[in-house]
């Protein structure tokens, strides 16, 4: 009965979304307040209905109601409660319900908090939002109904893929979805602005917080996903340029560009047409990612929804939503007048460069991801495009961006003074060069690229701090004056500093872990010891252990350095009887400067065990840096100017993309990563 209530609530929400998509649009066109006024209650009630549906589905999972087919296929009575709850979105149908839950939550927030939006703009934004939502409701109801019943109900469920029974992955999809869906708000604003025929700084002030919120969530989501891949897949790598990873990375790159170009619209009333286009493309890439992940068109994509009907439906939605918006753009964009030109050497000039490089990077990733599909469709054979391609193309595009990032952030608006900037950044440049030389020298002159990468990281980190120091007058003014200036600095300026410094931390982690990873694959008898990058690991054999819903063989490795015991590493091989599958749990000891990473392999007839041991220098910095970047975005979100008319950032609630059955692979091949910075700068 509860499942039927959920199903019914979804149908009502679908109808309401249609109403919200049509009536306010007509009302705004005809100037009829009564019709426009339907948008706000429709958006709020829609959210309530989806929340009911979500709770109904959650209830079915928690009480293990196996008469619901979805629960029977993806749950099990022995599963820990946490994974019963997260199991709601660890599958295609449930994750779509979570998707629309977040979508309608954001719609309700615009409706509830949008008092100071012009009435027609609000009506149009909500109408566009309603149409997007209607598309997804139709998708759920017609191709992926989560509430289908199963008769007779099985006594026991089939369980959840053990790889997904993990906190890192359980909370990674909600963040990703907050990101994707957040970009749908920027999209709705962009389309509404095209219909209105007007884009102004006030519009940009409205769009920026949403973009920023989405960007923060996506940053955290991608970092969580990469962290999960790192410790759960057991191959010592953290980024594989897998199509699934690229699917989330492309909207991130485009969203980062959008974040920066919206600043130019807000401050200088320029780049309007471009910003609107970018908002459309960012959401388009998010949808494309969803299509790639769920249609099963790419190998090594999560075997998520291999139902071709679903793929066709999402492709249809993608063409309709993005194609429609682009057609509207083609008609209306020439009418968007820019607010004047600007000098190439200026903050806005630097932001144009940022946008150029970030979109180029997104295009490169897109090409690499889609190339196997295109070639196969043209009958050119089956190929795979792996890390070497992305390292050869993505990294060279990123390097100029990172070099320019620090300079651009220090330039003044309108007309910058390059020599003044360089003198302000003298310390950063000196530190960067010193770091490059020191690393190159200590590495014996080899690996110049890695030395350059670390120099770049120092340039970003110190450059961000130097810019802040110059601004608040450290070294120039009395401490009291410095404090007053620091307190008076807009939060968005703090946000920018934090985010760019975080980017520097990420670049350091990416460089060091890619360049200096040590991998050893050994066959070890109990009592054997292995040397690894100055550490010593002694294998003490294995023991049988048991968990709540699995059995495990646990190895014991004693980690020492210079004769001193540091830690005991206990990698596991788990076997889940309900799901009939096995997983490998890596054991990781982190010093924050490096990870010692051990994986237990197979047992040979001789009684020896295969062990895979890694020393990954600076690898934790990748995730620390990503969190710092997201924190920078969050600091920027608290800026008073950005709060004007904008809702406060929502706590990342429950959201979710689901499941990953991902290729296990041998041969870790971490690749360059990182991207643009974040956040806005105060005047």
């Amino acid at each position: 009965m509860i499942a039927e209530i959920g199903h019914f609530a979804l149908i009502l929400a679908f109808l309401l979304a249609l109403v919200q998509g049509i009536l306010p649009m007509i009302g705004a066109a005809r100037g009829e307040p009564a019709l426009m006024a339907t948008a706000r209650p429709a958006a709020i009630v829609q959210f309530v209905l989806v929340a009911i549906a979500f709770l109904a589905l959650g209830h079915a999972f928690v009480v293990s109601d196996f008469s619901v087919e979805l629960v029977a296929r993806h749950s099990h009575t022995l599963k820990p409660l946490l994974y019963k709850v997260t199991g709601v979105w660890a599958n295609h149908e449930g994750s779509m319900v979570l998707w629309v839950l977040i979508l309608t939550l954001f719609g309700a927030m615009i409706a509830g908090l949008g008092d100071n939006l012009p009435a027609t703009l609000r009506a149009r934004v909500l109408a566009v939002h309603g149409l997007v939502a209607a598309g997804f409701f139709a998708f759920i109801l017609f191709t992926s109904n989560p509430f289908l019943r199963l008769a007779p109900a099985p006594v026991e469920g089939q369980g959840l893929n053990p790889l997904l029974q993990d906190p890192g992955l359980a909370f990674h999809p909600p963040f990703l979805y907050l990101g994707y869906v957040g970009f749908s708000i920027s999209f709705s604003f962009a389309v509404a602005a095209l219909i209105e025929g007007r884009v102004d700084p006030a519009w940009a002030r409205w769009v920026r917080p949403w973009t920023l919120l989405a960007w923060c969530a996506l940053t955290v989501g991608i970092a969580l996903g990469s962290w999960w891949a790192y410790y759960e897949l057991g191959w010592g790598g953290w980024w594989f340029w897998d199509p699934v990873e690229n699917a989330s990375f492309m909207p991130w790159l485009a969203g980062t560009a959008l974040l920066h170009s919206a600043i130019v619209v807000e401050k200088r009333d320029a780049l309007k047409g471009w910003t609107v286009l970018l908002a459309i493309l960012t959401f388009g890439l998010a949808l494309l990612g969803t299509f790639l992940v769920r249609s099963g068109v790419l190998t090594s994509v999560h075997a998520f929804a291999t139902d071709p009907g679903r793929g066709v439906f999402i492709l249809f939605l993608l063409v309709l939503i993005v194609g429609g918006a682009l057609a509207l753009y083609a008609i209306r964009a020439p009418g968007l007048r820019g607010g004047g030109l600007f000098a190439p050497i200026s903050r806005e000039g630097a932001l144009v460069l940022n946008n150029l490089l970030l979109t180029t990077a997104a295009a490169v990733v897109l090409l690499g991801t889609l190339y196997p599909l295109i070639l196969d469709a043209l009958g050119g054979g089956k190929v795979s495009v792996g890390p070497p391609f992305f390292e050869a193309t993505f990294v060279p595009v990123m390097v100029p961006l990172l070099v320019a990032c620090t300079i651009g952030a220090t330039l003044a608006w309108k007309r910058g003074d390059l020599s003044g900037v360089l003198s302000r950044l003298g310390i950063a440049a000196a530190v960067a060069v010193a770091a490059t030389i020191a690393v190159a020298w200590s590495a014996g002159g080899g690996d110049l690229l890695a030395a350059f990468g670390l120099g770049l990281a120092a340039w970003l980190f110190v450059g961000a701090l130097a810019e802040l120091a110059a601004r608040i007058g450290i070294f120039r003014l009395a401490p009291g004056a410095v404090l007053r200036r620091a307190a008076g600095l807009p939060r968005s300026a703090w946000g920018m500093t934090v985010a760019h410094a975080g980017l520097g931390i990420v670049v350091a982690g990416v460089t060091a872990s890619s360049a200096w990873q040590t991998e050893r694959i050994l066959s070890m008898q109990p009592g054997d010891a292995a040397e690894l990058a100055g550490y010593r690991l002694v294998f003490r054999g294995v023991a049988e252990t048991a968990g709540p819903n699995y059995r495990a063989v646990t190895g014991r490795f004693e980690l020492e350095r210079g004769g001193r015991a540091l830690a005991v590493l206990r990698p596991e091989k788990r076997s889940y009887p309900a799901e009939k599958s096995e997983t490998t749990e890596a054991a990781i000891h982190t010093t924050w400067l490096a990870d010692i990473y051990a994986v237990l392999g197979e047992r040979a007839s001789s009684g020896a065990w295969t062990a895979r041991l890694y020393h990954n220098p600076l690898v934790p910095w990748i995730w620390i840096g990503a969190v710092v970047m997201a924190a920078g975005g969050a600091v920027s979100l608290t800026d008073r100017r950005l709060r004007v008319g904008a809702p406060r950032p929502a706590r990342a609630g429950k959201a979710g993309e689901a499941g990953a059955r991902r290729w296990r692979r041998g041969g870790a091949a971490p690749a360059g990563g990182g991207g643009g910075g974040a956040a806005g700068a105060g005047a």
Binding site: T306, T360, K382, V397, K573, K580, S605, A608, R664
Partner: protein, 150 residues
């Protein structure tokens, strides 16, 4: 006039960036694309020994031989028409099973054996890699997907 020249400067800058990116992409495609072959493809047109490629098929039952030190493994991969021998050093993925689909990346050695440095197995016991399914269909031995895949 000034405005026009500035706009031109931005456009030229954009073109140069895109051009550079395009040449990077083309060069990288040339070097780093990895083709997928079935054992029959390999039997018909043997790729040169220095060429990296992927093979896929079913792991032949009872063909897995582990070396004494447990880190080297040999097995045979078949598309039911032809079979190729694969040697791999490292830890096999958890879902590597005899009688199930597998994809391996590497190159041929002088003896015509495939030296894999990467072995992929899908994390789902019922899944058949798409390439493997297509290759089996081509060889006319497809008996319908056991689930997933297609």
């Amino acid at each position: 006039m000034r405005a026009k020249r500035r706009r031109l400067a931005f456009v030229v800058c954009g073109m140069v960036t895109l051009g550079a990116a395009a040449s990077l992409v083309l060069a990288a495609f040339e070097d780093s694309i990895v083709y997928f072959y079935s054992p029959s493809d390999v039997a018909e047109h043997t790729p040169p020994p220095d060429r990296r490629f992927r093979i896929g098929g079913i792991v032949v039952k009872d063909s897995v031989i582990r070396g004494a030190d447990a880190t080297t493994v040999r097995f045979r991969v078949t598309d039911t028409l032809n079979t190729i021998e694969v040697a791999y050093t490292g830890v096999l993925p958890d879902l590597f099973r005899e009688g199930q689909g597998v994809v391996a990346e590497g190159q041929l050695d002088s003896a015509g054996r495939f030296r894999a440095d990467e072995v992929l197995a899908k994390h789902d016991e019922t899944y058949m890699p798409r390439e493997v399914a297509d290759a089996l269909k081509e060889s006319g031995r497809w008996r319908g997907a056991p689930g997933g895949g297609e």
